[in-house]
Amino acid sequence: MINLLLIAYFIFLLFFFGGSLAVVYHLKVNKLNEKVSTITTLFFIVGCLLVLTFNISNAIQVDWKLLSFDLGEIPVSLELEDSSYE
């Protein structure tokens, strides 16, 4: 059973975490002003947590089994009727 949508979901989530880390890194490491940097970082993190909560709370309710498919169920014909090797 392969659940491509679930894999895609985790890849998107991974990109989001990576992007968020890069943003926080820039806000903290290249800071010019401590106050501005702290406020912006906190604002960004709060926003991230809000959208992440909304995302995860909805993802939990999704019936991922319905969205999966079995590769074994795909009919594959191996009969080479018009093969020139016959």
């Binding site: 806000l27 959208v51 993802a59």
Partner: protein, 198 residues
């Protein structure tokens, strides 16, 4: 060293940057005009309005569609759009906020942030400044007093440009005053060497 007079120095006491020398004082921190950020944010504003409209109108619209869309799947997809929107907003902010020109009492530092993973830093000692030119081009920049400041140098980087900065005329006068001070200082030092004091 004599510094140009002004009431701006106290504004930057809380500001620090990597490689700041001991006793170095920040005189100006320059960024692009706020209108440039607003102009970049306008498409984002439309996009966010579109996202919110889709989010709230979707239950009504799906009634007219021939296919059934699971509400939770729809919400997950929408939340990814919101996540992307939030990230892009801050990437834009970083691009604006960290694209900065710092004028100190010793040198000019140009920091150009190009996206998240490209950053160019160059610096110029005041003594190497040859000429400063300002350019205000267009109706909106004339009304809001923003434009370019070109600093011709004798250094490695031939020309420094402060792009779309507020009040370029004031900046030019500050930079010119700093350059004059630096040249006076250089001459004083040279004179001291000639007299054998150093």
């Amino acid at each position: 060293m004599n510094k140009p007079k002004g009431n701006y120095q106290h504004r930057f006491l809380d500001y620090h940057f990597k490689g700041k020398r001991d006793g170095e004082e920040i005189i100006l921190i320059l960024r692009r005009h706020w209108l440039i950020l607003v102009a970049k944010l306008i498409p984002f504003g439309f996009f966010s309005i579109g996202l919110i409209a889709i989010f709230f109108l979707a239950p009504i619209l799906t009634e007219f569609l021939p296919i059934v869309i699971d509400n939770n799947v729809f919400n997950v997809v929408m939340s990814f759009f919101f996540m992307g929107f939030w990230l892009s907003l801050f990437v834009m902010w970083i691009d604006f906020y960290y694209d900065v020109w710092i004028v100190t009492d010793q040198r000019i530092i140009s920091i150009e942030q190009l996206g998240l993973f490209r950053r160019e830093i160059s610096e110029l000692e005041h003594g190497k400044i040859q000429d400063v030119t300002t350019e205000i081009h267009g109706i909106v920049p004339t009304l809001l007093k923003f434009g370019q400041v070109y600093i011709q140098t004798a250094g490695e980087k031939a020309r420094f440009t402060f792009k779309q900065v507020e009040n370029p005329v004031m900046i030019r006068s500050v930079v010119m005053a700093l350059q004059k001070n630096a040249i006076k200082q250089q001459k004083r030092e040279e004179g001291a060497i000639m007299r054998g004091k150093v």
